[in-house]
Amino acid sequence: MSEHIVFMLQLVITGIAVGGVYSLMALGFVLIFKASSVVNFGPGELVLFGAYVAWATILNMKLPLWIALPLTLVVAILLGLVIERGVLRPLIGHPIISVIMVTFGVASVIRGFLNMTWGSDTRPFPVLFSQQPIHLGPVPVSPVHLWSFVGVLILLTAFSLFFRFSLTGMAMRATADNQQVALSLGVSVKWIFALSWCIATVVSTLGGIILGSVRGGVDFSLADLGLKVFPVVILGGLDSVAGAIIGGVMIGVLENLSGGYLDPILGGGVKEVAPFVALVIILMIRPHGLCRKVEIERV
């Protein structure tokens, strides 16, 4: 196979792996939006929080993994509950700018709190996988990317099954579809709102752990990654779980390909901006995204 194709395949495969993590973050975002139509503008901070707590319990306090991981998730659930009960419930029915700004506010508090407790130095994550690339056919792939993708795949499958078959999952879908009908069928919408935040924080935490091990450490640049979730959800459709998954992978591939091919021409950094260019184009052509019902409000 020619070198060109190998280069491209390599970009695509790393893109898929990175995109998997975007899918995870987007899943958290979509869950919250679907259930309570709250737009979370701080998805990156949730990921950051999860990664730092995981670092603190696993590496700093040196707890055994079977205690540390559940502990991390419990902390994440508590954070979700605090945000939902404390901040967003009182703002139900307020204008959208208030909700957007309050999530910025929450993100800022989380960032400040993390910075105050653990400082802003890079926290190393252990290297779990060998650096030796695995060859998928002719294409070399680093094992970390491969395993993170497998991890994301397992998580996404688990969540899809949860929504499809479990009673709670069905209640969540019902609430997302129509709150009043769900209420009349005995679903506690309050509980679903809280639950959606808890699941979102758990998903973000897991995403944070995966990202931390892929990058070999966590620092505050992780939070900037969170804003990539917007191209993903706009592409996939704001309230579609399937869309979040597909969108994440597509954006991951797109940014890698554009970075690989356009960086030499435009002089670096294309990776960071390409998803947002795509976002504007999608908004102009198909604002409801790939997988969303067409009900966008036009003026």
Binding site: I100, G105, S108, V109, R111, L283, R298
Partner: protein, 347 residues
């Protein structure tokens, strides 16, 4: 005896000042501003200058978000465009500063016009996300268009000169900033007594109803973006003269969020609120810094925590105001004022 602020004629409704007290207060404030550079130290002058710039920027954002109801997370990008184009006009083209600042603001409003186009199709959340994307695209261009903006190395701006007098000290820049901030405030205040301003408010309150009444959404939404980004461009041009070196890092997304916080804490849809918000957000880190300095004896690590303390206090302030006082400091001000005006017969 008055027992409420009742307006019985259009005249009284359109009046800027209900009573004489605020006029006297304003005159005193202007007088103080005129002499303050003689007495204030460099530190406080610097703070005052930043407040003046923030007032202009916050007014612009309030016109767009607070009065017209179009959510924009791209304000930092307008500031950046204004700052860089002012600098480019002056340094590369040799335009004098009194032309370069308005020209820079015009360039910013041109960019605002482009940013505003999505607002014709998109609303609320979608518009917010579109402006977020626009922010990243603009900052990307600024970082990477190195032949024009010098990228991350930083763009040096020489001090402006008035009749051979270089505006190179904080005291001299102070007059430049407030010579623009005061008219900008007056213009904004008066804007909402005109047809244009009322059209903006109508669009915010109910866009469909506004368009039924004959308000052209296309025209006025874009006009709101243009005016708002003109203000931001002015603020940016002044930033270029205040800091005299421009880095793309000065225009991150956090700056846009800061400006949004200013108008929320100060009061959305209020000119006075924009000023309060600008003062609050500029003073917040300074107060924290002073507190940390005074506590160094007791708690020596305090200084390292300022950045994170600022994040926390900022976030909590935004959350607090949204939950308990959504109309911001301006609303508190009105309440306090009317309490005294109407005392003891407040209804």
């Amino acid at each position: 005896m008055k027992c409420g602020g009742f307006r019985v004629s259009y005249r009284s409704d359109e009046r800027i000042f209900d009573t004489r007290v605020p006029i006297i207060g304003l005159v005193i404030l202007l007088g103080v501003l005129a002499v303050v550079p003689r007495f204030a130290g460099t530190y406080w002058l610097d703070v005052l200058n930043r407040i003046g710039i923030a007032v202009i920027g916050a007014l612009g954002l309030n016109i767009l978000v607070g009065y017209t109801g179009q959510i924009s997370i791209g304000h930092a990008a307008f500031l950046a465009v204004g700052a860089y184009s002012t600098a480019i006009f002056e340094v590369n083209l040799g335009v004098p500063f009194y032309l370069a600042i308005p020209l820079g603001a015009l360039v910013a409003s041109g960019v605002g016009l482009i940013f505003g186009i999505p607002s014709l199709r998109l609303k609320g959340l979608y518009l917010a996300i579109a402006t977020l994307a626009a922010h990243f695209i603009t900052t990307y261009v600024i970082v990477h268009w190195e032949s024009m903006t010098k990228g991350v190395i930083g763009f040096m701006v020489p001090p402006a000169t008035v009749f051979g007098l270089p505006l190179d000290s904080d005291a001299r820049v102070f007059y430049l900033i407030y010579a623009l901030a005061v008219p900008a405030t007056l213009f904004a205040k008066n804007l909402f007594r005109t047809k244009v301003g009322r059209a903006f408010i109508a669009i915010r309150d109910r866009d469909v109803a506004a368009s039924v009444m004959g308000v052209s959404l296309l025209r006025y939404k874009l006009l709101a973006f243009v005016i708002s980004s003109f203000y931001a461009g002015l603020a940016g041009g002044l930033m270029a003269h205040h800091s005299r070196i421009l880095f793309p890092d000065a225009f991150t997304l956090l700056v846009a969020i800061d400006y949004l916080a200013m108008i929320i804490i100060g009061g959305m849809g209020s000119i006075l609120g924009s000023i309060f918000g600008a003062v609050f957000m500029t003073l917040l880190p300074e107060v924290l810094k002073l507190t940390a300095t005074s506590l160094t004896g007791v708690y020596p690590q305090g200084f390292g925590l300022i950045a994170s303390a600022r994040d926390i206090v900022f976030g909590l302030a935004v959350i607090f105001f949204l939950m308990y006082e959504p109309l911001g400091l301006a609303r508190i001000w009105v309440r306090v004022r009317s309490f005294w005006q109407l005392w003891p017969y407040a209804y």
